[in-house]
Amino acid sequence: MRRRAFVGTASATAAVAAAGFPNIVLGKGEPIRLGVIPPLTGGNALNGEEGHDGAEFAVRTINARAGKVYDDRPFELVVEDATSDNQTAVAAMNKLLTENVDAIALPVLSTQIQAMEPLVKPTGTPWLTGGTNVKNTLLGCESLFRFRASDGLTAAGLVNFAVGELKKSKIAIMTSSEVFGVGGGDQCELALKKLNMQAVSRQSWPVGAKDFTPEMLKIKQAGADAVIVYVQNPSDSALIFAALHQNDLKIPLIGSPGLGDANAIATAGPNANGNYAAIDYIPSAATQAFSVAFEQVYHRKPEVGSGEGWVYSAVLFLADVYRKIGTTDKGKTVAAIHATKDYHAMMGTYTCDADGNMLHELGIAQIENGAVKLVKTVKG
């Protein structure tokens, strides 16, 4: 009797083993390594901190769920500091790729993404990026995906809003003089050209400019009736709002997401009221809930569009992809992301186009009493 029981148990174990049970046991609970590569030090540390915290909060959210990502597998963050220069960023990506990461999130800086791309491309590692420069997704890297609206979409949205909704015909363009600003300004000029228009004035300011009076006086002299601003730094945005008032220009600013940054609006105070900014998301109950939950943990409001929000939303999406395909195989993951259509994410609807762009909509918001209020949704 005892012998028969043993034989029965042994046979059952062998049958389960033959069916692949040992593999399931090994995979179950094993961490999924998510590499994050934000610029945590140097001049772009703000972007880095926001990106890092967005990814960390997403991982915290997913790991708290029953079943975690799938099969009880949690996300494990592997962090490398991209610093604020491209050379070190490339070295950091090199190191990250040797650490057996299943996927990578960040950075948000387009120049860093372009510098890192040749390293990531041959590995086929799924790469969730936030840089908005149009070129990023045209580099030929199959596994690179962009989870924010591109500058092409944002610039066209700003121009069409100024001309179509606000009925402005003498548009001036004002940009920062680094890659982000110049690229965005060029896209604005292209969008104006499509409407058979051209900017009445184009001004750019150097990094760290402290007084925008000269730019405003030039725009005033050109007779502009609206200014499209491509700006990244919240300090610059606050000074631009102040300079608009100081120089008695009673025309609206319509800016990239940096113009609607919470810190910029807080610094500018009432000077920011009445102006417009693009936002990289469509406000919803989900974005509101995210803001509240994030603030409880990090004691500060998140930048939903360009800061923490897009990374959070992208990592949650990646977890859903893993859950759906049941594997972290890089090729299968990349293929599954490419096949994405009408996925309802926190930031909006993700549909992957041929170049790896996921988000094809953005909001235009008006600044009122220290907050942004959606006035138009732009579809790409």
Binding site: A209, A238, N247, R300
Partner: protein, 303 residues
């Protein structure tokens, strides 16, 4: 362009020039006292501003934890300046004093180390989020006839004028000022005539740190407070002190104002994109035509 716009540009330029002048004075005082350029001077504008904002806002995140240490604004400035005094003493005792007999190079490297340390410490303590410093005045401009003036610019001009007057009084009319000038001129002789040189040097470090801190506190309401806020100011201030004649107090003030005004006018009449370049074109021009700077020769012999 009309007269009012030119005046507006001029006032903006003078305000920024005053900030450059205050930081440049800090450069010059330390250079005169110990013969080295203090590359942490810009960070003395940044770090005390972070200290001030910790007590100026209802709540601030320190090391990731929320603290509520808000004080009345006068107390905020007092705490920030007192801690700056401490910072000046520590800077003197840690970065300069142990290296004072080893030539200028180790001291310069030490100041670079302090600069990096302060920036990283600020990031560690306060994080990377820019902080908004509460303004004593509304951010809207004041209308004065055709002019629209930024109240903070007017405050900067007023405070800078008072400090420059104080500077003159200190150096020309007080024993301490004369001791500082004597120490700058010849430390050995100063020691021989009974001046406590180390004490005077420490006071010079404190005074330079305070000048930087005041510059930082003045610009904080119109910029956000970030760990980089002192960097570019210090670069322009350095150019200002070279233009004025390195070592010259008058030169630092005039150099700061020249660069501030040239930037503002150049940004309008040439291009805003080149406003940074304008400061350095002036620097190169002065170095080519008058290498000792505008006031270099006369004052370096005197002080």
């Amino acid at each position: 362009m009309d007269f009012a716009s030119n005046v507006q540009l001029l006032i903006g330029g003078l305000a920024m020039g005053s900030i450059y002048a205050l930081v440049a004075l800090g450069f010059v005082l330390i250079y005169n006292a110990v013969g080295v350029v203090n590359f942490a001077q810009g960070d003395f504008a940044m770090f005390p501003t972070y200290i001030a904002i910790t007590f100026a806002l209802p709540s601030v995140v320190l090391f990731g934890a929320l603290v509520h240490w808000q004080l009345p604004i006068i107390a905020v400035y007092a705490v920030a300046l007192l801690l700056t005094v401490l910072l000046g003493v520590l800077f003197n005792r840690i970065a300069y004093y142990p290296l004072r007999d080893r030539g200028w190079m180790p001291v310069v490297i030490s100041t670079i180390g302090v600069s990096i340390f302060l920036r990283n410490l600020a990031q560690l303590v306060w994080g990377s989020q820019p902080l908004v410093f509460p303004s004593l005045f509304p951010m809207q401009s004041i209308e004065a006839g055709p002019l629209h003036l930024r109240p903070q610019d007017l405050l900067i001009l007023a405070v800078a004028a008072v400090l420059i007057a104080f500077q003159y009084y200190l150096f020309e009319r007080t024993t301490l000022g004369k001791q500082m000038r004597a120490t700058a001129q010849d430390r050995t002789t100063a020691r021989l005539i009974g001046i406590r040189v180390d004490r005077v040097v420490t006071i010079t470090f404190i005074y330079s740190a305070l000048l930087g801190a005041i510059a930082g506190l003045l610009v904080a309401p119109i910029f956000t407070v970030t760990k980089e806020m002192g960097g570019l100011i210090a670069l322009k201030a350095f150019a200002a002190s070279v233009v004025g004649g390195f070592g010259s107090i008058q030169g630092a003030i005039i150099g700061g104002l020249v660069i501030g005004i040239a930037e503002a006018l150049g940004a309008f009449y040439i291009s805003p994109a080149y406003s940074d370049a304008i400061a350095f074109v002036i620097l190169i021009g002065v170095l080519l035509l008058r290498p000792q700077g505008l006031f270099g020769e006369r004052v370096s012999e005197k002080a």
